[in-house]
């Protein structure tokens, strides 16, 4: 035992008592660096592609469809086999088990089977001794197509009623009647662009065949259990023969929830055929061509309101561009509908969500999961109403906030409890000096001919929980070894968000031991089974609770043992700062563990958690789908160039609600990162497909995510302090992964505010998302033309 190899110096009673008076130095609530930070900065953190390779490793490369929709007339792979170094070529017919790898619904063949449905769809894959040879060979295959009509435009799909799933409605009251009766009424439409995840590490899997005919899969995925299920399914194996191991991802953002499965399953099929280890890492362009993105949306609204700008009724159509298959689109469009209220009481509302089928890659989960698109829609409505009434958009927003005791029920019948909107907005309005800056901006705009400034303060209310209720469960596994060191495993995955750090802090807090004692381990389907994806911001809520449950079971066993051993009542056992107090006795955690071992106490336990209180009746579109809401607000100021459409964010103030923070440093990182990522979605990140359905912005040379100079010149980010989540979440914290992304809507609104200033804030400029410099200039031009037309008439 290592215990004997390095004996702990014996501490005096006085020293132990001193230790007892001190707090644990790195438990819950402390600003602990990311568990891998030291390895990240030294290059020692290993990602799947960095693992030591076996000499007989095969590299796999896929050949992608060159057409958006076509029947495959011929596949001739004989030219591939002529290239030295090629070991194996697979097409759909080589998949021994089930070809379809659709996560929830069928429709995603691992390799195209007779028909291709988007440009970029994998048709075959070649395994060779090197990636270069595999690529060369894959491109040598001869594929002939008979083109079929392709639908690339979401509006066309909507007109044709081409859906991957049927449409769905949320309905309250009588929206039609309310609209007719309203004093004011506005209609409009909005196109919202998609977004490439651009995780820095592309999709990658490395698969090793095992002696029992199974597979050991190293995969960069947010959903190891699904990879396990799908690898088993394509190989026709029981799930018990497949183990998936996931230490860390180089970013996920939702893009590795379902979309990691393709490379893993292709590699598994080849490993199964050849008996050799196989790696598939997608080159950047292939990754961007093959995998789905955030759903673009087309939105139509018809809204009625009174003189004060308060909504009387709304009819909104949300059409998600799902790409060629369902994937997670059902839940994503649902979430867009759930968030089409954002922070506002919609009154009589009819919200319709359409899941449009187009010949593009199948769009998928992306941080916010449809929520951002729904929220952008209603924020656009707020701006539109404000311009129509000639009022400050912030006034209109505040006018429509959910109430605390009335007007507090969502259009899907969930009561909005613990509504923080008024406090947050009022705090931020003051701390950001909104009113003063609004005045200063008006003055600036009068004196500046070319540049104009704009400002916007927008709220976020985001529902936390998987809307597929059964996913709200998690497991964890803790071993305590005889030297007192702790092995921690849970079902969540680390993609940079600091989940492992938070869960380790939770376990450290429960046992009252130092964080260094806790060994964080790779997510592994052999240790914690049947896990949910790390998604929906739920990682710490679910896995933190599961790990806490496991820790509490062990703590109970240790307490029971200590009570018996020291002859004290169980109520006299306390864990505190690496010590256990048993009545008058003081003993170190290590020593207690060793005593417990010798007394034959089990030092290993799993833990399980399921979220309480949530239910939803989809047929009635009614229920309590979210355990709680996370809130936030942002105030952004921008300057735009009215001659070129260029812009810059001058300042952003953020106030965000994470309940009682598990780790404020990590939470601030999520808020800042989410805001900038959302800003990219709404500004420079533009996906462009050509008429053939080919993604033209398929690399970072053409697809521009924010760079360092795009960040606000003045960036002030704060967490709301001293505000616990009233729900019984882990240490009363709140989820933080997704909600901050939507804070960036303030940037988009501020850009439109700057453009609107050209009309004396009377005209709502038509600027779709993303507001690229081109869209801004076109918005300016259209607004000026409208002004000129007004003058003439």
């Amino acid at each position: 035992m290592s215990k004997q190899a390095s004996p702990t110096p014996v501490k005096s009673r006085a020293e132990l008592e001193q230790q007892l008076t001190q707090d644990l130095k790195n438990g819950v609530g402390k600003k602990i660096p990311h568990e891998s930070a030291a390895r990240h900065v030294s290059g020692e953190a290993l990602y799947v592609d960095d693992r030591l390779e076996y000499p007989n490793l095969l590299h796999l490369y896929a050949r992608l469809s060159e057409q958006a929709h076509a029947t495959i007339v011929k596949i001739d792979t004989s030219p591939c086999d002529e290239i030295p170094g090629v070991v194996c070529v697979i097409t759909a017919k080589d998949v021994p088990g089930k070809l379809d790898i659709g996560a929830v619904f069928a429709g995603d063949p691992l390799l195209a089977d007779g028909v291709v449905e988007y440009l970029g769809q994998p048709i075959l894959a070649v395994a060779a001794n090197s990636l270069d040879i595999a690529r060369q060979a894959a491109n040598a295959a001869i594929i002939e197509y008979a083109p079929l009509p392709a639908v690339l435009d979401v509006k066309q799909a909507l007109d044709n009623k081409q859906f991957v799933q049927e449409s769905h409605q949320h309905k309250r009251g009588d929206a039609r009647k309310a609209l007719q009766n309203a004093k004011h009424r506005l209609q409009g439409e909005l196109h919202v662009g998609g977004q490439e995840h651009f995780y820095l590490e592309t999709q990658v899997s490395s698969v090793m065949p095992t002696e029992d005919g199974g597979m050991l899969v190293y995969c960069s995925t947010q959903h190891p259990s699904e990879i396990q299920k799908l690898v088993a399914s394509v190989l026709d194996l029981p799930m018990s023969k497949v183990v998936v191991d996931m230490r860390r991802m180089g970013g996920g953002f939702g893009g590795k929830e379902t979309q990691a499965a393709g490379p893993a399953c292709m590699a598994a099929v080849v490993a199964n055929i050849t008996g050799q280890p196989v790696k598939m890492r997608l080159p950047r362009i292939d990754d961007m061509m093959i995998t789905g993105k955030r759903h673009p949306f087309y939105i139509e609204y018809d809204v009625g309101f009174d003189d004060t700008g308060r909504l009387q009724g709304i009819n909104m159509q949300l059409a998600g561009n799902c790409g060629y298959s369902a994937d997670l689109s059902g839940s994503i469009v649902d979430r867009a509908m759930f968030h089409s209220d954002n922070a506002y009481y919609l009154s009589d509302a009819l919200i319709t969500g359409h899941r449009c089928k187009t010949n593009l890659a199948s769009n998928t989960a992306f941080r916010g999961f449809g929520g951002p698109q729904g929220m952008l829609a209603i924020e656009n409505v707020m701006d539109h109403i404000a311009r129509h009434l000639g009022k400050d958009p912030l006034e209109i927003r505040k006018r429509n906030f959910y109430g605390k005791t009335e007007r507090n029920i969502t259009h899907y019948q969930q009561t909005v409890e613990e509504n923080l909107l008024d406090e947050i907005i009022s705090d931020l309005e003051q701390s950001s000096c909104y009113a003063e800056r609004r005045t200063a901006i008006k003055q600036f705009n009068q004196s500046s001919y070319i540049l104009k400034k704009g400002i916007a303060l927008t709220p976020v209310k985001f529902g936390i929980s998987f809307t597929a209720t059964f996913l709200n469960q998690a497991g964890a596994l803790i071993h305590i070894y005889t030297d007192g060191s702790i092995h921690l495993n849970h079902g969540g995955t680390e993609m940079g968000q600091g989940l492992n750090t938070k869960v380790a802090q939770i376990v450290a807090e429960e046992f009252q031991v130092d964080l260094e004692r806790i060994q964080i381990t790779a997510t592994n389907t052999g240790k914690v089974p049947n896990t949910s994806p790390t998604a929906a911001s739920s990682g710490a809520d679910l896995n933190g609770k599961a790990a806490q449950a496991a820790a509490r079971i062990l703590k109970q066993r240790l307490s029971d043992f200590a009570a018996a051993h020291f002859g004290v009542d169980i109520t006299e056992i306390r864990f505190n700062n690496n010590l256990i107090q048993a009545g008058e006795q003081l003993i170190s955690f290590d020593d207690l563990v060793q005593l417990a071992y010798f007394a034959q106490v089990s030092l290993s336990s799993s833990g399980f958690y399921k979220t309480p209180k949530i239910f939803y009746d989809r047929d009635k579109a009614s229920g309590h789908p979210f355990y709680y809401f996370a809130y936030g607000a942002a105030c952004s100021e921008v300057v735009i160039d009215t001659l070129t459409g260029e812009y810059k964010v001058l300042r952003a103030d953020i106030l965000h609600d994470v309940g009682a923070s598990l780790n404020p440093a990590i939470d601030i990182g999520q808020v800042e990162g989410g805001f900038i990522q959302g800003m990219g979605w709404l500004t420079t990140e533009e996906l462009v497909w050509n008429e053939q359905g080919k993604l033209m912005t398929n690399s970072p040379a053409s697809y521009k995510i924010p760079a360092v100079a795009d960040t606000p010149l003045d960036f002030r980010v704060k967490l709301i302090e001293n505000r616990k989540n009233p729900e019984d979440t882990v240490f009363h914290s709140k989820a933080v992964g997704e909600p901050p992304l939507m804070l960036s809507i303030s940037v988009w609104s501020a850009i439109k505010d700057a453009v609107s200033s050209l009309s004396g804030y009377r005209i709502h400029p038509l600027i779709d998302a993303p507001a690229t410099p081109e869209k801004v200039l076109m918005g300016v031009t259209a607004l000026r033309q409208q002004l000129a037309a007004e003058q003439e008439s």
């Binding site: 930070a37 180089g250 970013g251 070319i450 070129t644």
Partner: protein
Amino acid sequence: MIHFLLNNQRQSISTIDPNTTVLNYLRNVQRRMGTKEGCASGDCGACTVVLAEVENGQLAYRSINSCLTLLPALNGKQLLTVEDLKEADQLHAVQQAMVDHHGSQCGFCTPGIIMSLFAYQKNASQKKSIQNNPCVEFNKAEALAALAGNLCRCTGYQPIMNAAKEIGNHHQSDKFDQQKQRTIDILNSIQPVQCHAISNAQHSTTHALKTAFSPTTLQELDELLQQHPAAQLLAGGTDLVLDITQKHQSFNTLIYLGEILVLKQINLTATHIEIGAAVPLSQCHSVIAEEYPDFGHLLERFASLQIRNQGTLGGNIANASPIGDAPPALIAAGAILQLRIAGVRRFLPIDEFFVDYRKTQLAQGEYIEKIILPRKPQDSIYRVYKISKRLDDDISAVCAAIHIKINHGQVSSAIIAFGGMAAIPKRASHCEQALLNQVWAETTIHQAMDALQHDFAPLSDFRASADYRMRAAQNILLKCWIESQSALKPNANANHKPTQTLPHIPTRVTDYV
């Protein structure tokens, strides 16, 4: 054979496919897995490494994209990767600052960011020692420039900038400083004196022989070009290597220009700036910025620092991309190219150099030796405008350079050149005519804006629509005129002094820093 230091280890390579990138060499040959591939196209910075070379008896540290660098560029230099910074268990100050400020989340971009920050720290500390002032304040613009080529999808950059701030403010000497003299001595000892080469095989085999030559003089270069007329010239390689990593081509014969000293020199004469064709963009920045401030600003937004540390002015011209940023600025400045073939020189105004899409006046075997710019223009308006979706590290939708001379209120000379508007970087001759000999007034500008429609019929692509390109190009003319109003006033009439200083009203979003 090439010789270099991999950290402290002397490496010699003679047999390797010269199409191998430094990134693939590090990961596949050296099995150094710290350096990551994020895009293999020089756009994300995850693969950033640092090269140190001896300059004026000091070590100059430069960040580069290892995915866009071929091995000949390593000769005589020290290659440092993320693995080299830590000493025993002790993180380097740059690494520690990133940990302390929570600068990594997923960690995949982090090695590249560490290396960019490391080079930034070395350069900042050298500046401090030159200025003999250890308290030189953190320079935000320099930190932004150092990081502009490193994409991070997780953090939103704020903690990374905080780490940069700490690094910029507190510098302690590190092991590289302590080993400096030894490193300089070794690097000096491996400077090449004559042409050398690497190839994929020692002798011709059944495989195609692939060779990269590194001549050290123009004479050697001329000879090589005669022996290998189809050879591909390799300067910085920041565009050429995309043919290898993205188009998966392989070159049989490469001639690397980076060892020819005369191509890497800048001469300042009384009338001209002469820039060797292989001078990296980052190294011609200061001399250009001094004479043409707007051209200097353009260079600051030109790709990323990693690219500018490798990419050359000559390469950007010879590459003849319609969206290259240097050509419009050079055309407007009246630059002349000194071309050379088999020892024979000729001079060509740069606006005559571009023939058609990616076609130039260069004959086979001919190359650019120097770029010659007239010195600071007197009493003229010289402005450059770059419009792109993203402000930094992006390719222009439109790049415009305007050079106007005004005599007694009239336009006496006008050179207006655009990138992104045609198949080549091109002068807007109708627009120039509309301005020439006209009063420098808004009505004239509107005529010039109309005339621009006769000069160009731009393309629509994923960067911008034709409509936007034309509208923005026209508006740039108007903007230039507006900007000239405040700029010209104090100088328009030497006898007239403004009674009060007008507050400066920003005219570009990039004025906000």
